[in-house]
């Protein structure tokens, strides 16, 4: 029983990342009609915002300690972060310790800017082109972005730990007499994802801007005829989608050390999530994200891999096939989306 609940928690956690990325993908597809293969790279850039701020806060001045030696036998160069000398050792260390949550403040403007540059600079030129062209150009862009990151940060994963206060595990089943130790940061990640998803839905549901965007997603032409510049709003939605992916990446950094390839690792699965959820359906993307996350977790249990070897590697694609055979538009897909 304990193991079962733990796998559900793991699934929700994995599903959080899938849902956040798929939500952004669906926003872009639903508004601009673009299949954005560079969306995984936005997730990766978000994670590297956390890495960058952490490195920036650790930017140090060097003093020579004659009493210690380096690996060549020379006096040791001791590095002290400027932050610690400006704010004192304790406060400085705390600021460095909280670098991941603080990165959210950096990631929001950075991701909006990246999103705007990407949309205005490249993707807008492909609106009227075939989906195959869009896929090729965005996939190429993803490779360029990851190679840039590799050039500056290397290919090795970079440890970006959460604040000390949020490390460790909590027994989530203590009140019910169950033994359910679960990492604190993963709980934070799930709550954060839920908040972001709720924020995006509220924005679209309860603001005038969101209402216009939803109307544009349903019938772009009519909204345009009413004199509303829907393109400008859709560009803003692209930036918001980039921001959602970036924030998902920032908070994911302590779960698995960021590396330049992490966006690609999530990209294919997120596309499957979008297709299973239904192209253009935001609730579908979220539902499918959590559903496939949980299924993947269960398929990785010892029982499942012993009973059906290799099931953990194919479960998501198997479910996608079954869903598409029984519901060709996905779980919550609408008629007319990506159909002639």
């Amino acid at each position: 029983m304990d193991a079962l609940i733990l796998q559900i928690l793991n699934g929700l956690d994995k599903g959080s990342a899938y849902a956040l990325i798929a939500l952004g993908l669906t926003l872009i597809f639903g508004t601009l009609g673009v299949v954005n293969f560079a969306h995984g790279a936005l997730f990766m850039i978000g994670a590297f915002c956390a890495v960058s701020l952490s490195k920036l806060l650790k930017f140090s001045y060097v003093t020579i300690d004659e009493t210690q030696k380096d690996f060549l036998g020379n006096p040791l160069k001791v590095e002290t972060p400027y932050v610690e000398s400006w704010f004192g050792p304790e406060l400085g260390a705390s600021i460095i310790d909280w670098s991941v949550p603080l990165s959210i403040l950096l990631a929001i403007p950075v991701m909006i800017l990246v999103g705007l540059i990407m949309e205005r600079g490249l993707i807008k030129h492909f609106y009227k082109r075939e989906h195959a062209d869009q896929i090729l150009v965005t996939f190429g862009l993803a490779i360029v972005l990851q190679e840039i990151v590799k050039y500056y940060f290397g290919a090795n994963p970079i440890q970006t730990p959460p604040p000390d206060a949020l490390m460790g595990v909590s027994n989530l089943g203590a009140w019910f007499g169950l033994d359910l130790p679960y990492p604190n940061w993963r709980i934070v990640y799930f709550c954060f994802a839920a908040l972001v998803i709720a924020g995006v839905f509220s924005f679209l549901q309860f603001t005038t801007f969101g209402m216009v965007v939803r109307a544009g997603m349903a019938d772009r032409e009519t909204v345009g005829l009413l004199g509303i510049d829907i393109d400008k709003r859709f560009t803003v939605m692209f930036a918001i989608a980039a921001c959602v992916a970036g924030l998902a990446g920032v908070m994911y950094a302590p779960i698995n050390p960021p590396n330049y390839h992490m966006g690609m690792d999530f990209l294919v699965l997120s596309f499957v999530v979008v297709v299973v959820g239904g192209m253009g359906s935001l609730p579908g993307a979220v539902l499918a994200g959590f559903m496939l996350g949980i299924l993947e977790s269960f398929a990785s249990t010892t029982w499942a891999t012993t009973t059906l070897p290799g099931i953990n590697q194919i479960i998501i694609y198997l479910v996608a096939i079954i869903v598409l055979l029984t519901r060709p538009r996905g779980l919550m897909g609408r008629k007319g989306v990506m159909e002639e």
Partner: protein
Amino acid sequence: MSKTNYTRRGVLKTGAVAGAGVALPTIFTAQSAAAYTNEPTGSTVTLGFNVPQTGPYADEGNDELLAQQLAVEHLNGMGDGGCLNTFSSKALKGNGILGKKVEFVTGDTQTKSDAARASAKSMIEKDGAVMINGGSSSGVAVAVQGLCQEAGVIFMAGLTHANDTTGKDRKANGFRHFFNAYMSGAALAPVLAKEMGNDRNAYHLTADYNWGWTQEESIVASTEALGWNTVNTVKTPLASTDFSSYIAPILNSGADTLVLNHYGGNMINSLTNAVQFGLLDKVVNGKDFKIVVPLYSELMAAGAGENIKGVLGSMNYNWQLQNEGSKQFVKSFGEKYGKPPSNSAQTCYAQVLLYADACERAGTFDPCGVAAALENFEFDGLGNGKTLYRADDHQCFKDVLVVRGAQNPTNAYDTLEIVEVTPADQVTYAPNHPMFGGDEATLGTCNSGA
């Protein structure tokens, strides 16, 4: 209207003469006249360095390349001479190899077998490389070794740890300086018994490919020989990034030890996830929960950060070794590049020097002559202490290091501490050991490409 006087016979004659003319240079310079593949005829000799320059092991590949460049410098008499000063064989004089200046070309393995074969093939066929060295994966090593055997050049493997490289897939033209999974198990077992006791329940997470399987087999055999019980062995897909769903079942499995048969990014993520789930803070069966990472590298240690504190593993080499060869190599590498060398750098450096030395001693670049010079060659002074290149399987036998994640690192390179230097005798096995292909495994015959 134009008129031509071409006849069928005339076209055939012209074609035959032109064809012979075009082929003439290669007829007299290529293999029909050469004694062996890519016999150097000018004043230079070309070596091929095949390392991952892109992909997940690009940093490791870069370190290998730095070491290979350093070796070429030392062979050509530049720099401080490095391990030419400490190498027990005195055949190398710093004037290239057999008086020919050493040049090199590089290829990108991408850590993919097909890409690695393609880049090695290009270096052999287009650039005239007489030897291929480098790599950071056993799959790549086995693939490139097979290619070199077919092409008639020597393959001096880089980082490859699977038993199969010098086991069932051993080749007469291939040589491995790096240690292997069996040696990791044999070196680790006594230390594990001393530090953790003989009554442990081990749970293995294993990367689902050739190297992972051979390492799991080796570690299970050596720990069960201690009296440990293997609770479960779970294969994880190589492409896995989040291991939480594999870690969670361990919590209720009754295991008190987790063995991570993972390398590179897999190991960094699985160890990070295991620590996140508080495994190292648990007490199971009255014992502190422990994690073992049988194969360590400096880059993995750096990537894992604080998570590796206290975690035991094994290595082929560590820059903290205090023998003369190691001190000299660390000095040369450190002064040139500003950082200590990794164990993948050291194995590539040693392999380039060993190849050059074998050519000098054999008096030829002929792969069969070089192979004969390397077989049963005993040497010292390259950083690992006394070493034997065994003739039966072309595997080096030397001391193996058992290391632990440093508890209180003083700098960025102080990530691992040496716990024990396991003597070579303790990690030596029979050439027909069942884990290495048994009696059926043979080197075959040397191919010079003639």
